[in-house]
């Protein structure tokens, strides 16, 4: 393929060079579409519907985590910014201390405790609708993820607060709240926030799938949390999916069985593929954004 007028390569090569985020978003879309097409051929309709529902729930749950983390992170960062003044020092230390406490709780342990509470709410019929359960689960997950966002926003505010243009705006009478939200965050930090949102989406997919897998495997009597909307994690924990994954070991020892993975063990393999492929692509998209905007 010929190079462009500026000497840089065009087309696919250019995409490899400068728009890796877009390239990987395309790869992810292509991969998921191909899988969906194959599932239409190789998987029966009820199982296919289960995979689709689980994928959708996982995506919605992870999106919920992103939105809530952005909201919590923004609110926390602004609260800390306004408390970080000599007269409010004690309150600032108290809030920081509490946030550090949450930070020290491993996500999975915190989420497990949160899910125990959610189970009690579901059993008490306080959380009936599937959408409400998804949202509540997202809120629990975001409690242990949002500090990544608040750290980023705090760092951006600190960085720009030292610059001349912020001082000039403040002297001109523009309110600090407006300067932070419009000038610093929207106009000068959008790429950072989008990149963080993508990274949080990856973490959320991983955490949601993992907690649902653990719960579905481990808590199987009347405290079962299997009443939660199905996700890729709980789908993978089902006996038939687990058997599909177990076959991989046999296939590695006898490669002639590889074709059976794509015909006889489609459900478990496709669910595992969706999780791993999504995590890989999200990582690559996030890194692509970092490279493209030199974040």
């Amino acid at each position: 393929m010929p190079d462009g007028p500026d000497g840089r390569p065009r087309g696919l090569s250019h995409l490899f060079d400068s728009r890796k985020d877009l390239l990987w978003a395309l790869i992810w879309s292509g991969g998921v579409l191909s899988l969906w097409a194959w599932l239409n051929v190789a998987l029966n309709a009820p199982a296919r519907l289960q995979v689709q529902t689980a994928s959708l729930n996982t995506a919605l749950g992870a999106l919920g985590v992103v939105v809530l983390s952005l909201a919590f992170g923004w609110a926390t960062a602004l609260t800390l910014h306004y408390l970080d003044r000599p007269r409010r020092r004690k309150l600032y230390f108290l809030v920081t201390f509490l946030l550090n406490l949450i930070r020290s709780v491993p996500q999975m342990v915190g989420m497990l405790m949160g899910y125990v509470v959610l189970t009690a709410l579901i059993r008490g019929e306080a959380l009936g609708a599937e959408s409400a359960q998804l949202l509540a689960a997202s809120a629990v997950t975001s409690l242990f993820v949002f500090q990544e966002v608040s750290d980023l926003i705090r760092e951006r505010i600190r960085h720009y607060m030292q610059s001349d243009f912020v001082n000039a705006l403040l002297v001109c009478g523009v309110r600090e709240f407006t300067v932070i939200n419009r000038e610093i965050l929207r106009k000068n930090s959008l790429a950072h926030i989008v990149q963080k949102g993508v990274a949080v989406f990856g973490s959320a997919v991983f955490l949601v799938c993992s907690i649902d897998f653990i719960i579905s495997v481990g808590l199987s009597t009347d405290v079962s949390l299997s009443n939660f909307p199905p996700t890729l994690g709980s789908m993978l924990a089902k006996l038939d999916s687990k058997q599909d994954i177990l076959v991989i070991g046999t296939v590695l020892a006898d490669p002639s069985l590889i074709p059976t993975l794509f015909v006889e063990h489609v459900q478990g393999i496709s669910v595992a593929f969706l999780i791993v492929f999504t995590l890989l692509c999200v990582y690559k998209i996030s890194n692509g954004l970092v490279e493209r905007y030199r974040l």
């Binding site: 930070r103 491993p106 497990l112 009597t221």
Partner: protein, 371 residues
């Protein structure tokens, strides 16, 4: 009044956090122990359970009871259904609730039960420490290799393959096959790195013993995206340091800048394992030291994530006799006092790591004059 050193302030904060959380959880445990155990049979069905002539396990007798009761009592069909539902739930709980089973009373927090947890906790600490050290070293090596490759301007295998598509001849064809093979290998490695631990563990369960400590350590290092994210963070810091002004100054002063491994003016191969050895006179030494100084603080975030990974591994694999499997069992049987003890133990691990990291960072800051 002299300013308190940051190290002391952080240490005091961590210790206070441990005391506060420990005290609060201890208060919860004491409250749980002092309150009488709740009767798990709902009061609404106690009267019906006393009717000896009806066997509620039999669907026929349940239906007969429902019809006879509806004839003789003024109760709505919905209310009657919910009573029957409670009766069925109570019957099932006799098979599943440990308190209702013979000899299945709930375990409570005692010195004996705490002592039983101790070996599991020690084993958890050992695995945690090994995974932490191995991951740090491996992430550092991957980050340095990737940084050096980036500085040498090496393109990805796929991109290199597309570049060579136009070339003809057997040598070019062999080269392309080699590049494809390398790309597939790298793809497979990425597949392993991004797989959640349970996917890898179940994939290998039929071939190897997945319940030994060595496999757990290996899984802890390579799975759950831990290593790759760790390495990526270090790589990002190396890149951002390499863009700073002092690097250009160092280059002007004549420090070595080649990133070819093994060449006289480049990086020695040992730099991948021990970056400070034989690096005098190379600009990378300064980039590395500054990047490491910042990276150390991110170990605090990674401590919590690493524990998350280990929890996933132990719980998902249902490895009996391990701390997190036991935690799951105690949640299952609602033995919350023991749950609290284990959670506090795990929280303490993270806090202790944070304390160590803050002390290490403080010592380095003092050495570099940044304190």
């Amino acid at each position: 009044m002299p300013a308190v050193s940051p190290v002391l302030r952080h240490a005091a904060e961590h210790l206070f956090a441990l005391l506060l959380v420990g005290g609060a959880l201890a208060a919860v445990v004491v409250t749980m122990h002092s309150s009488p155990p709740a009767d798990s049979t709902p009061g609404a069905i106690e009267a019906y359970l006393d009717i000896d002539s009806v066997n509620f396990a039999s669907p026929l007798q349940r239906t007969l009871f429902r019809e006879a009761f509806a004839e003789t009592h003024a109760m709505s069909a919905a209310a009657l259904d919910s009573v029957l539902q409670l009766l069925e739930r109570d019957r099932l709980s006799r098979f599943t609730d440990p308190e209702k089973k013979a000899g299945g009373a709930r375990e409570r927090l005692t010195w004996e039960s705490a002592a039983r947890l101790l070996p599991m906790y020690v084993s958890f600490l050992v695995v945690y420490a090994i995974v932490m050290v191995v991951t740090f070293l491996a992430a550092r090596t991957i980050a340095i290799a990737r940084f050096a490759a980036m500085k040498r301007g090496r393109a990805s295998f796929v991109r290199e393959y597309f570049r060579q598509v136009g070339r003809r001849g057997p040598v070019a064809a062999v080269g392309r096959i080699g590049l494809l093979f390398k790309a597939i290998l790298r793809g497979a490695a990425y597949g392993v790195f991004f797989s959640p631990a349970y996917v890898i563990a179940y994939a290998f369960r039929t071939r190897i013993d997945t319940e030994n400590l060595l496999f757990m350590v290996l899984l802890g290092v390579v799975s759950n995206g831990l290593l790759i994210n760790y390495a990526n963070k270090f790589y990002g810091l190396l890149v951002s340091e390499s863009r700073k002004g002092y690097v250009e100054t160092a280059m002007v002063k004549g420090l070595r800048t080649s990133y070819r491994f093994g060449s006289p003016d480049g990086l020695p191969l040992e730099a991948l394992a021990a970056p400070l050895r034989r690096l005098r006179g190379h600009v990378f030494r300064h980039i590395y030291l500054n990047a490491r100084f910042q990276f150390i603080l991110s170990l605090k975030e990674h401590a919590a994530f690493l524990v998350t990974g280990l929890v996933i591994i132990e719980m998902a694999l249902n490895i009996k006799g391990h701390l997190c499997y036991t935690l799951l069992q105690h949640i299952l049987f609602r033995e919350y006092d023991l749950v609290i003890l284990i959670v506090f133990g795990i929280f303490s691990v993270v806090k202790a790591t944070e304390l160590v990291v803050d002390i290490w960072h403080g010592m380095l800051a003092r050495r570099y004059g940044n304190a």
